[in-house]
């Protein structure tokens, strides 16, 4: 039996008022959503896999099933917040507060792939030209620092400084957008 494919498996919407009967359905319905929410906050697969695992290992034994799907999802969302905040605190000395919106799990599990809601595209559009350019070359086109520097006609050192400033500016814009 080959591994199930979470991408092509039919995703059945859990409509309001429905219940999860057991942990298997909780897992099947939410594993992709949990992974994606985690991935967006850590940006790499090894950490995202570890943290998604931590979320389910922590949350599932505490669920009293059957339970309404909405409350299970908000409990998973709260667990994601705790686990991800703890990750940043332990490994990068971040303050313990979790900078996540409350409705993080309110979204459907089968969101379109990639830049959902155009949030990143919106951020990029509001950046000054050079900042936008370096981030697009690095993150969307996947160029190395050297290649990006060559394309922009600057040194690799300059490209790195530009990248750092662009990321900080993007973070400021994201914060302004939320408040």
């Amino acid at each position: 039996m080959s591994a199930p494919d979470p991408v092509s498996r039919p995703r059945l919407r859990v409509v309001e008022g429905e219940h999860y009967a057991d942990w298997e359905s909780v897992y099947a319905h939410n594993v992709v959503a949990v992974y994606r929410v985690v991935f967006r906050q850590v940006g790499n697969r090894p950490d995202a896999e570890d943290l998604a695992e931590e979320v389910f290992l922590a949350a599932l034994p505490r669920l009293r099933l059957p339970a309404p799907a909405a409350s299970v999802r908000s409990y998973l969302g709260a667990t994601v917040r705790t686990v991800v905040a703890d990750h940043w605190r332990r490994h990068y000395a971040a303050p313990p507060a979790a900078p996540l919106p409350d409705d993080v799990m309110a979204a459907e599990p089968d969101l379109p792939s990639g830049d959902s809601g155009g949030r990143v595209a919106g951020l990029l559009a509001r950046l000054p030209e050079r900042f936008r350019q370096i981030l697009v070359l690095r993150f969307l086109r996947g160029l190395s620092v050297g290649q990006a520097a060559a394309e922009m006609g600057v040194t690799a050192g300059n490209a790195r400084v530009l990248q750092y400033r662009a990321l900080r500016r993007a973070a400021e814009l994201a914060e302004e957008g939320e408040s």
Partner: protein
């Protein structure tokens, strides 16, 4: 090392999908790193989980959540007896104790005869009216007993799709899955479903009636 270099190294790791190095970051660095994570995730498909990870974690959770006291052999048995998909996977993998050649037949349902099984009373025969179904639980198996005109039959009560527990419809006559609108007949066959592929028929258990008790062959 400058913030530009430290964050630069972090970005490099993200773009190569490596676990980034850990360090004590300043507030400014943290803000930049979080923005980098979100940008990294915005590439189409980048934030989708690996199917093998999803499968592996599902197995790990099954072990953690069903493998309480009793150690490995009980866990294994529960695996065979538990959710239909898990049982089917274990059978396809060559596990002993279940009639494996029947596992692939969706129409007939499988026979569940676990290793070391004994007859265990599960319900009073009088508790199951003709044409009705009643659930039982032995700790090792969630099952359902059906009275078919005085002849008793027993099936696994977990849906063969994802293992949700079935219950009898209010008017009798069918066993409903609460998860995905699948319904099974009182003979274990699939009556209706909305899945891409029809789920397997319900695995069945050996049944007998002794001293007014319905007994099933199980661990």
């Amino acid at each position: 090392m400058s913030p530009e270099r430290r964050v630069g190294r972090f970005v490099e790791d993200l773009l190569r999908n490596r676990r980034p190095r850990r360090f004590r970051a300043t507030a400014d660095e943290l803000a930049a790193m979080r923005a980098a994570a979100e940008l990294r995730a915005s590439r189409p498909g980048a934030d989708l989980p690996d199917p093998f990870f999803v499968d592996r974690l599902g197995r790990r959770l099954r072990e953690e959540l069903t493998g309480d006291a009793g150690g490995r052999s009980l866990t294994r048995r529960r695996l065979l007896l538990g959710a239909g998909t898990a049982a089917a996977a274990a059978v396809a993998g060559g596990a002993a104790g279940v009639a494996g050649d029947r596992a692939l037949s969706a129409a007939a349902g499988r026979e569940l005869v676990p290793e070391g099984a004994t007859w265990q009373p599960v319900l009073a025969a009088s508790a199951v009216a003709v044409g009705r179904a009643v659930r039982f639980s032995t700790g090792a198996i969630e099952g359902i007993v059906v009275n078919e005109g005085g002849r008793y039959r027993a099936f696994s009560a977990t849906c063969t799709h994802l293992g949700c527990l079935l219950s009898e419809s209010p008017d009798g006559g069918r066993l409903r899955c609460p998860c995905h609108r699948t319904a099974f007949g009182l003979d274990g066959s699939v009556l209706e479903h909305e899945l891409v592929r029809p789920p397997a028929a319900l695995p069945w258990l050996h049944v007998r009636v002794r001293d007014g008790q319905v007994e099933v062959l199980t661990v």
